[in-house]
């Protein structure tokens, strides 16, 4: 026991002594174990006492040695740090302001770095050698359309890719929405249907159990096995240790859980996936000939290139294999090009909008950091002038200029590190908020502030501290001795003044540029929110039902049940219309921002439909109240009525764009079109509806055909639309309960407003707007402080001159105006430069904006006005002070 105590006490001894004598002292301690308690106590006290004495002795020796040798750099550093702390404590307002400015700037940077790191650099977790893993794209030019690239391919393409010699491995997957559980416990989940090869290709290991094997994903009958995500394991099973082998209900079927994926695993994309299941379970539901169909395209295919294989060579091989294997009639498929891109690319092979915005925002946050640095530099210059006397005395006492420089740079670095530490807190808050609100579709597996962010922040802070401190330090230590002998603040060199003014102008310039960017994004968001979509997204609820599976029924029972289900939604409309708050309800197959069905339209007397560049016509089957429910105006002709249904004469309503494209200057009402391939019977056009956006906020008008519900052939999947008098969410619960009461086979009712379907497309603009606004406002505040501090300095510096002017009869308001003119002058310079920069960068920003020019004069003008106002406000106090200068006192303080 005494030995253990001694071991602990030895830690109190100086390291050198401990190394030399520690072992022997422990031996002694062991011998003491057997002796009397009083001896042991005395020994312990003696050990403590000697430790203290030895430490004091060592400290004395070190100081002595340093004074003699000056060979202890750590001592000097420590001294400077302690001195810096004391010095900053004497000016807490200055230190606090600088730390806060740097905290906000570095915090924003750290938050963005964390996001950019994930989106642009790291990509999905758990991917080994990610540079060799690539997604397959097909580019073709269908008739009547421009070149069209897609990552969605069919199983037949997967088979082709698998055989390529440049691919070491190939895998395929599709992420779908589904439900788990039944009835009241039903929850929406994301299901990743994947080939068994996906996991080995990515190089991921299961956290528990196993992934599914090839035999379980056979094309003749895949097994219902599932690998759950770490998140689902926690949410649904409470991290139970016996989760393997338990059953999980997915889309009303039981699955056996065979494994748990590692935390953060999201496959080859960044979005959340709750469950992985064999791909062929999904394939069987797509269409009957899914193995050979060229038109069913529901899969993503990824490959791992062999070592040393050039991606272009791989693309050539894939194209050759594809075009050779294609056995259909479509020319554009025979001329298609198959190629690959990294996992970070979007569905059409280009950089995703989110990545582009994040890239921009990283640039923005760097700008903010620069502004903050300029401001801090300005403040340090001012502070240096205040300390001229102190520094001069130090020089006189023998401190070298290098020592002074080191001391000042350590001070600025310390401030920077404090700011950066506070900034991590800011980063945590901002990063978390940005992820949850604007980037919620991505699975964030690490915290907003993780090890990498920490490291980058630390390095940035240190570099920034040195950068920010060096220039003022060099300036301030120049002629420190001579300056100290001059009394008063007067005598600030012209050089320093020009430097400070330049820094202030730089701050203003950057603020203007940022605010212009923010203004443009704000306008984009506003425009996006007010786009005329052709319907009312906020008041319409989309209702889709999931049902118990038909397995277990014989064929005739299955057909009867299917027929009943097809007619169910239309049959229950009157009940839904009776729900309080519901203004109207309808059923449709083929909704905007939902399922899209293309169709072949033949017009008698026309060889082919005119080319529009926006693709061929699409089709929806709608119930008579559809247009009223959606808020889509009928421009000509009539709406469908209850007599237009299955079996009645075929009629159609077309979009206004189709009307003017196919029958320019003529009335399409009463004309005949033939729908389908081969062309169906003559369908009479009875009405023209206004154009609606079908898939994107930014969309050129398209040709669209509406036919009565019940007359559709070859496509299906009805959804109910409910229009409410207030916002759509308010009636969701009532509608849900009406539906579940009306049909016991319904397992889950999914409701979503049309606005929610469109929201994801707004996200990148919202992200841009939030960040730019925050940065712009921060920059504005910092600039205002910068202007104020410079003006205050100028007034103090020129007190004598002001006093002379006043003594010679100048009016007080004239003197005040001098200050205001300085302020306006600096701001105008900043505004001019800032506008030039913003205009120059406008070309790069334009693709990110929506229906607003990157050089919009209203935005530029407003920002200029704001900065002028801020500059005026900042000059208020200094100008008042200048006006109140007492000429006698100013002249006396010479």
């Amino acid at each position: 026991m005494i030995e253990a105590l001694y071991r602990a006490l030895l830690l109190l001894y100086p390291a050198e002594f401990r190394r030399r004598f520690g072992a022997e002292m422990l031996d002694t301690a062991r011998a003491l174990d057997a002796s009397r308690r009083s001896r042991r106590s005395r020994a312990v006290i003696d050990a403590l006492h000697t430790a203290v004495a030895l430490r004091a002795e060592y400290r004395r020796e070190r100081r002595f040695a340093f004074t003699e040798n000056r060979h202890m750099p750590w001592d000097a550093l420590r001294r400077d740090v302690i001195f810096a702390i004391r010095s900053l404590r004497r000016e807490p307002a200055f230190a606090l302001f600088v730390a806060a400015t740097l905290a906000l700037a570095t915090g924003a940077n750290a938050a963005l770095f964390g996001i950019a790191d994930r989106l642009l650099v790291r990509g999905p977790d758990h991917v080994r050698d990610a540079e060799r893993v690539r997604r397959v794209y097909v580019t073709a030019q269908p008739p009547g359309m421009g070149q069209f690239t897609t990552a969605g391919v069919g199983h037949v393409t997967y088979d082709i890719v698998r055989r390529a010699s440049s691919a070491e491995a190939a895998a395929t997957y599709a992420i779908n929405d589904g439900t788990t559980g039944r009835g009241a416990e039903a929850r929406e989940i994301k299901i990743g249907y994947a080939s068994a090869s996906l996991f080995s290709l990515l190089g991921v290991q299961p956290a528990q159990g196993r992934f599914f094997a090839d035999e379980e994903d056979s094309t003749t009958g895949a097994r219902r096995v599932a690998v759950i995500s770490d998140g689902l394991w926690q949410r649904q099973f409470g991290r139970a240790t016996d989760v393997l082998g338990r059953s999980l209900i997915i889309n009303d079927d039981p699955y056996d859980i065979v494994g748990v994926a590692p935390s953060g695993f999201t496959g080859a994309e960044l979005g959340r996936v709750d469950v992985w299941a064999p791909m062929n379970l999904l394939s069987a539901r797509i269409t009957n000939d899914w193995m050979r169909s060229w038109s069913a395209q529901w899969l993503s295919v990824i490959i791992r290139l062999r070592q040393g294989v050039d991606p272009d060579a791989a693309s050539d091989e894939l194209t050759t294999l594809f075009t050779r294997a294609y056995d259909g009639d479509e020319k554009h498929m025979r001329e298609a090009r198959v190629w690959t891109a990294g996992l970070g690319a979007a569905d059409d092979g280009s950089e995703p909008a989110e990545s582009r915005v994040v890239r921009w925002l990283s640039g923005v946050s760097l700008l903010v950091l620069l502004i903050a640095c300029a401001n801090v530099m300005n403040l340090l210059l001012a502070r240096g002038a205040r300390r001229a006397r102190e520094l001069g005395i130090r020089r006189a006492l023998g401190a070298s200029r290098l020592a002074l420089l080191r001391m000042l740079v350590i001070e600025s670095t310390l401030l920077s590190l404090i700011g950066a530490t506070l900034g991590l807190l800011v980063a945590h808050v901002i990063g978390g908020a940005a992820r949850n609100t604007l980037l919620s579709s991505i699975e964030w597996s690490s915290a907003p502030v993780d090890a990498r962010v920490l490291l980058v922040s630390l390095v940035t802070a240190t570099a920034m501290g040195v950068f920010v401190g060096v220039v003022p330090a060099i300036d301030v230590t120049r002629d420190a001795l001579a300056r100290a002998l001059r009394s008063g603040v007067r005598g600030g060199s012209g050089r320093r003044l020009r430097l400070r003014a330049a820094l202030t102008v730089v701050q203003s310039t950057l603020s203007v540029a940022l605010l212009i960017g923010a203004g443009l994004f704000v306008r984009s968001v506003w425009n996006a929110r007010h786009v005329d979509l052709g319907f009312d997204p906020d008041r319409v609820l989309v209702v889709e039902v999931s049902r118990a599976s038909l397995a277990g029924l014989d064929t005739s029972a299955r057909d009867t049940e299917r027929a009943r289900r097809r007619l169910f939604l239309a049959g229950v409309l009157d009940r839904v219309r009776g729900v309080p708050g519901v203004e109207g309800a309808s059923v449709a197959v083929g909704l905007p921002f939902g399922n899209r069905f293309s169709v072949r339209i033949t017009v008698p007397d026309l060889d082919a439909l005119p080319q529009t560049g926006t693709g061929g016509p699409s089709i929806s089957a709608v119930e008579p109240a559809y247009f009223r429910t959606m808020g889509t105006r009928l421009l000509r002709g009539r709406d469908f009525n209850p007599t237009d249904r299955a079996g009645s004469a075929p009629v159609a309503i077309i979009s206004e764009f189709m009307a003017r494209t196919v029958w320019p200057g003529r009335d399409p009402i009463g004309r005949c079109v033939r729908i389908g391939d081969p062309p169906g019977p003559c369908t009479t056009i009875v009405g023209v509806a206004e154009n609606t956006h079908r898939a994107r906020l930014v969309e050129a008008p398209k040709m669209h055909v509406y036919i009565p519900l019940g007359q559709e052939v070859g496509f299906g999947g009805a959804a109910m639309l409910v229009r409410s008098s207030q916002d759509a969410e308010s009636v969701a619960d009532a509608v849900r309960s009406e539906l579940t009461t009306a049909d016991a086979t319904i397992t889950f009712v999914a409701t979503e407003t049309l606005a929610e379907r469109i929201d994801p497309q707004m996200r990148s603009w919202e992200l841009g707007t939030s960040t730019l606004l925050f940065s712009g406002l921060l920059a504005l505040v910092v600039s205002a402080v910068g202007i104020y501090s410079l003006l205050a300095y100028l007034v103090a510096d020129r007190r004598h001159e002001i006093g002379v002017r006043l003594a010679l009869g100048a009016r007080v308001d004239h003197v005040a105006m001098i200050v205001v003119r300085w302020s306006i002058g600096m701001s105008l310079a900043g505004i001019a430069a800032g506008c030039l920069i913003a205009a120059a960068l406008g070309t790069f920003m334009q693709p990110l904006l929506f229906q607003v020019s990157a050089r919009d004069p209203m935005v530029f003008g407003s920002v200029a006005g704001v900065l002028l106002l801020v500059a005026l406000a900042a000059s208020l106090l200094p100008s008042l002070r200048a006006a109140r200068v007492d000429p006698l006192e100013a002249l006396r303080a010479e």
């Binding site: 030399r20 072992a23 022997e24 002292m25 031996d27 020994a43 050990a47 006492h49 000697t50």
Partner: protein, 123 residues
């Protein structure tokens, strides 16, 4: 027996602290390791001086630095149980300093006895 002649040290003998004196006295006859020094002192002073190891090694370090003793290689010392630990031996300067100190003590003892401050030594 005749003692080997003391090599003349380069430096004059140093003043000794009481503990330093005791340590050198213990090492005068033969090298000892740390624990052995402690035991020797306790035995010689009949338990009056009981050094804590902190104090002991602090003194040993000081004596080493001043060149009065030197720490040798590890190994067992003849006559005591085998132990880990360095053995220390007295250096010429240490011996000279010890002798200097002893001479002074001896003169003081003679004076004390002559003035009946101490009982005479039993011969």
């Amino acid at each position: 027996m005749t003692r080997p002649p003391v090599r003349q040290p380069e430096r004059p003998p140093l003043e000794l602290t009481p503990i330093g004196f005791e340590v050198l006295l213990s090492l005068a006859a033969s090298p000892l390791h740390g624990y052995g020094i402690k035991l020797a002192i306790e035995e010689r002073t009949s338990g009056d001086i009981n050094l804590g190891s902190g104090t002991l090694y602090q003194a040993i370090q000081r004596l080493e630095r001043e060149g009065l003793i030197a720490g040798g290689s590890e190994g067992a010392v003849r006559g005591s149980d085998p132990r880990r630990g360095r053995t220390y031996r007295i250096e010429p300067l240490g011996r000279a300093s010890l002798e200097n100190h002893l001479r002074r003590l001896s003169r003081a003892l003679d004076y004390a006895r002559a003035h009946r401050l101490l009982p005479s030594a039993k011969r």
